[in-house]
Symmetry: C3
Subunit: 467 residues, 3 copies
Amino acid sequence: MHPDRCFDADPGVRRVARELYEGTRALPIVSPHGHVDARLLATNEPFANPAALLVTPDHYVLRMLYARGVPLESLGVAPRDGGSFERDPRRIWRRFAERYDVYRGTPTGLWLDQELFELFGVRERLTAESSDRVYDAIAERLGSPEFRPRALYERFNIEVLATTDAASDFLEHHEAIRRSGWHGRVIPTFRPDAVFRISSRGWRDAVGALGASAGHAIESAEQLVIALAARRAFFKSMGATATDHGVMEPYTETVSAGEAEQLFERGCRGEATVADQRRWEAHLLMMMARLSADDGLVMQLHAGALRDHDTPLFERFGPDIGGDIPIATEYTRNLRPLLSAFGSEARFTLILFTLDESTYSRELAPLAGHYPAVRLGAPWWFHDSVEGMTRFLDRTAETAGVHKLAGFTDDTRAFCSIPARHDLSRRVQTNWLARLVARHIIDAADARELARLLAYDLAKRSYNLET
Amino acid sequence: MHPDRCFDADPGVRRVARELYEGTRALPIVSPHGHVDARLLATNEPFANPAALLVTPDHYVLRMLYARGVPLESLGVAPRDGGSFERDPRRIWRRFAERYDVYRGTPTGLWLDQELFELFGVRERLTAESSDRVYDAIAERLGSPEFRPRALYERFNIEVLATTDAASDFLEHHEAIRRSGWHGRVIPTFRPDAVFRISSRGWRDAVGALGASAGHAIESAEQLVIALAARRAFFKSMGATATDHGVMEPYTETVSAGEAEQLFERGCRGEATVADQRRWEAHLLMMMARLSADDGLVMQLHAGALRDHDTPLFERFGPDIGGDIPIATEYTRNLRPLLSAFGSEARFTLILFTLDESTYSRELAPLAGHYPAVRLGAPWWFHDSVEGMTRFLDRTAETAGVHKLAGFTDDTRAFCSIPARHDLSRRVQTNWLARLVARHIIDAADARELARLLAYDLAKRSYNLET
Amino acid sequence: MHPDRCFDADPGVRRVARELYEGTRALPIVSPHGHVDARLLATNEPFANPAALLVTPDHYVLRMLYARGVPLESLGVAPRDGGSFERDPRRIWRRFAERYDVYRGTPTGLWLDQELFELFGVRERLTAESSDRVYDAIAERLGSPEFRPRALYERFNIEVLATTDAASDFLEHHEAIRRSGWHGRVIPTFRPDAVFRISSRGWRDAVGALGASAGHAIESAEQLVIALAARRAFFKSMGATATDHGVMEPYTETVSAGEAEQLFERGCRGEATVADQRRWEAHLLMMMARLSADDGLVMQLHAGALRDHDTPLFERFGPDIGGDIPIATEYTRNLRPLLSAFGSEARFTLILFTLDESTYSRELAPLAGHYPAVRLGAPWWFHDSVEGMTRFLDRTAETAGVHKLAGFTDDTRAFCSIPARHDLSRRVQTNWLARLVARHIIDAADARELARLLAYDLAKRSYNLET
C-alpha cells in the first residue's frame, strides 16, 4: 500500500495532494447513506468467518467473479429453490483467492487491498497459494473483541452511520442500540419503495405492512400518505434525518386526488399497469417532497438502475447479486413539476444520484446550480472509482460549485469496507483539488477549506446532521 | 492572478503553453456571437454603478447566489408584479461580496477575478469586509472617461462585436453607431426565434412586428418567408454576417407548401399545438438554410435549452434569470433533411452549438467531419469552463479536425467580461495544444498556427468576417 | 516520428510507458476484425499506385478532405452514374498532398505519418511541393517484391488476419490462399447483414444468394436459419472463429416461430416495414446467439451507425465514402432478452462495439462486469484515436476489469495502415497502464502482464484464436 496511491504522478500536484489529504485523513467518518444492517451493531456479535464477511454478501465482489465464469453457488450464494451451494467458508475463500486478480485496477480491488492490509494486517498478496494462511489470519482476528462490530465502529472513527430501512420497519435494532447505552450514532433512513411499486405482486402486502406499522388500515391513497407521514415522524424520532427513493425514472407530476384514488383502487384489485405505476410513483414523489418541505427530512433520489436484468439468475438467487444495469436517465423534464413546486422551499433538500454520467454536466449540475433545494449525491455505485469520482468532480463543480455537492456516501453493505471507501474518496478529492491549486485556479487556503468540506462538512450539512 | 493560471502543472506542458499563449494573448478580440446591447455603444453613457454593471443583469452571476439561497430581489432583480426589491446598489454589492466564495473554482469566478484585478485595479479579495472599498474603487473608475463603453471597446482591443437582434428590430442603435463616425465594428445578428414559436401566445404579435418592419402585411407562410428574406437583406446591409436560431430540438424536415400554409393558419387562429410548432420550426429552419445558401449569412443553431424551467420564478421575474436547464439533444437524425439538402452547398455555413456534451464525439464531430458546411460552435454556456472547453477540444478535434471548429464565442451580455472570457479561452486552447506538443502528436510550428486559428482566425473565417 | 509520441509528458509516467511499450511493440499482430479484401493476399499482385493504395479507397482519408470542400471526384472516386472523375493517380495524390494539413492531430494523420515514414521511408513532409517526389518514392517501392501483399503481411508480423464476408460468399480467395501453400492465416468472418434487412429492396436477392450458397431454396424463416447454420459451418471449416452483425439498434426479442414466418412472408412480398425489420433483426440476433452458443463462433455486434446519412452523396457515389454518422444507442434494455437467454452460456461470447461513448460506463462496462459471455470491443471507428482509446479504458476497465475487454481490432480496409494502427493502440494502452503504475494503483509486474493482454492475448482469447 503506497502512501501516495491515487495521487497524480506530477510532483507539483502530488505534493499539494499529499498535504491536503493529510489534513482530511483523520477526520471522523460521516456515512449518511448506506446499507449496513443495524442488527450488526445491535447484537455486536462477532463476524462468522472471512468468506461470510468479505465475499458472499457483497455484490460488488460477487459480480466480478461471476463475470469471469465463477458460479455463484461456489461462492456460498444459496439458490432460492433449495439447490446445493458451497457451505465451507474456507473453500469459498479459496475460490475468491484464486481469482483475486480480477480486482486489479478496480475500486473493489483498492478497497479489498486496504482492508486486508490495514484492518487485518495481511502482508502478502492474496493468491491460491496464500489463501489458507490469509484465511487463518483473518479468522483469528475476527474472534478477538477488538473485531466486534462496535469496536470496529469506534476504531473506524465513525461519527454517524445511516442505515436504509423499509417504511414499515419497526427499527427494533436501532431501538436496541439506543437502549444499550452505547454511544454510537446509528440512524435509520426512511425508504418506502415497496409502496411505490403498485404494479408489482408484493404491493398489497407492502401496503398492509405499512398500515400495520402505522396502526391503522390503509384504504385510500390519502390514507396511505397519512400513514407515510406518521412513519416519517416515527423514523425522525429514531434519529432519521433523511428519506431515500429508488426509481427507474425520476418522473414527477401533479396527480389529482381523484386520479390518485383510482390508481390506488387499481392497485388493490391487482390491475395496476406499468403506466399506472409511473403515475403513482410520480404522485408519491410529489407527496414525499411536500412532506419533506414540512418535516425537514432530506429527500434522496436514486434513479436509473434496471434491477435484476439477468432474469434466470434473479429467479435462481433473488435480488442484489450483481445483475442490476444502468439505463439512460432524464432529470430536466422529469423533475420539473417537483422542483417548480418545492425546489425553492427553505426547508427542502433534494439529493440527486445518477448512474448516467452524461447527466452530470448536462442536467444535474445546472439543476443544482439553480435550485436552492438541490444537491448532488456522490458518484454512485459503478462510479465511486478513481476515474469515476474524478469525472464527477470535473463535470459538476465548475457549474454547480463545490458547496452544492452532498459529500461522500459509501452506500455499502460491507461494514469493514467503510474506512477504505472513505479513504479512497478523500484521496481522489484532494488530488482533484491539488490539480486546481497547481493550475492556480484556487489557492492553497481555499483548497484546505474545500478538502474539509468534501471529506466531512458537506455530508453533515446536506443531511442535516449538524445537530 | 497568477500568470500561469489554468496551465498544466507539468513543466514540459506549461513551458509550451506559456509560449503559445504569449503568441495569442495580444491578438484582437473577434466576438461573433453575444448579447451585448448595442445601445451601450450607441449612447456611450457611463455605467451606472458596480452592481448594475456586474451583478443584477448577469444571469451567470445571479444563479450561483440564488442556488445558495440568496433571494433575487435582494440582488436588485425587479419582480414583474411590482413587488419590492433592493434598489440600493451598495447593498446589492455587499450581498454579492459576502457570498463571493460561491464562485471559487468556477469560470464565473475566474472571469470576475480577472475583471476586478485587471480592469478595475482591485488588489484585495472581495469579502463582506472589503465590500465598500471595492465598490468605491470601481464606482470611481466608472465615472471617468476611460471607462465609457467605447473607450473600453478600444482598450479591450475588440475588432468586431456581434449583437443578437430580433428579426423585426429596426437596428437604430447600430445605425446610430454608424452615423456617429466612431470606428468600432458593431454588427447585428438576425434572430427570428419569435416567429418560430407558433404555439406561443406572442406569435401573432411577432408576425405583426415582422410585417411592420418588412413593410407589408404577412398573410401566409410564403409571405412570412419573403418578409424574413427582406429583413435578412436589411440586416446584411447593416453589417450582419450571420443568423441565429434557438430551438429546443434541432428537428428539420421538408414540409410541403400546402402544409406550411395550414400550420400558418392554425397559428393565426391561435390553435397551433406543440406538435404543430415542431413541424413549423422544422420548416422554417429549412427555409433559413435555403436563404443562407443564397445570401451567404452564416446560420447558427443553438439547441437543447429548456427555458424557464422554474415556473414560479419565471412568473415572478421573467426570462433570463438563470432558470434554463439543458436536455439531451439529437442531431444526427434531426439534421439529416437539412444537411442532405444544403450540407454540401458552397456558400452555406452551419455552426452547431450544443448543451449536451455526449453529442460532441457521437454526433457533432462526425457531422463536421463529413459535411463541408458544418462547423462546431464553441462549448456553450455551462461548458465554457476550463474543463468544459478542454473536453470539447478533446472530443471534437481528433474526428473533425481543428479547422472545422468555429473559434471562440463569448455569448455574453456582460460587456466587461469579454476580455476575461477570451483570455480564459486562449489559455485553455494553448494548454490543450501544449499537451499535444509535449506528447509529440503535433510539432511546435503546427501548434503556433493552430493557436492563432483557435484564438482568432477561425472565428473570422467561420463567420465571414474576413472582409 | 518521435519515439515517445503519444506518451504523457510527465517523466514518471513516460518512463514506465516507454518500458511497457518496449515489451509489447514486437508482439505479433492479431487482427480479428477488419475489412481487408482477401483477394489481395490470394493474388498477391503489387499495389497499383500510391493514390489507389492510400487515398481513393479509404473513407477515413476521404471524409476529412470532403469536409474541407474537396470534391470526391477529384480524389478518384467514381460516380455511379458514369460521370467523370479524376483518373490520374499523380493528380489525385497531389490533391491529397496539398491538403495534408487536414490530418494534423487526428488519428488518420498519425497512421499516415507512420506509414510514410516507416513503410515507405519518406523523410520529408508531404506538401504540394514534395508531392511528386513522395509519389515517386512510394511508387518505386510498390514495384518491388518486398512490397507485395504477402511480403508485407510477413514484414508486418501478422499472426492472423480476419476478413469480413457476406453469408453467401463462396470464400474462393480464402480457399486460394489455403491451396497456395502460403502459411499466412487469413480467416473469414461470417456477416449475414444482408438477410437481416428485410425491408430493403435487396433482401430477396440476398435470401436467394444465401440459398444458392447453402444449396437449397429458402422458403421460410426456419429454412433461412437452417441455411445460416450451414453457412456458419462452412465458414468455420474455412477457419472462421467469429460472426459479425451490424445493426442500427441492438434490439433483441424472442419472436414466436409463427410470427417469424409472417415476417418472412411479408419480406417475400416486398411488404415488410421498418417496424417489421426491427422485429426480424431482433429474431435473427436471437437465432445467431443460439447458434453461437452451439457452434462456438464468437458473436460480434456493431450497433449505432446511421449509414449513408448524406442522401445525395450516397446516390452519387454509393456507400462507404464517409457519410455514416453515429446515433445514441441503448444496450441495457435491448440486449436483455438475448443476455437472459444466452449471457451465461459457457460456449457463448458476445463482443459489443459502440459509437456512443456515453454507454461505456453506463451500460457496456456494467454488462461486461456481470455476464460471463460479454466482452467489450475496442473503441470503434471515430473513437480509435489517442483520446478516444484513453476514454474507453478509463470508462470501462474499472467496472468491467481489463480481462473483459476484447483487445484491439483495427477494423480497416487499408492493409498498409495495420501496423500503424496497432502501434498507436499499444502506445495508448501502455501509457494508460503507466498512469496506473505512477499512481500506485497497480504495480509494475501487473502492468507488464496487462500490457501484453491488451496488445495480444485478449484478442486471441476473445476470438477463440488460441488454437
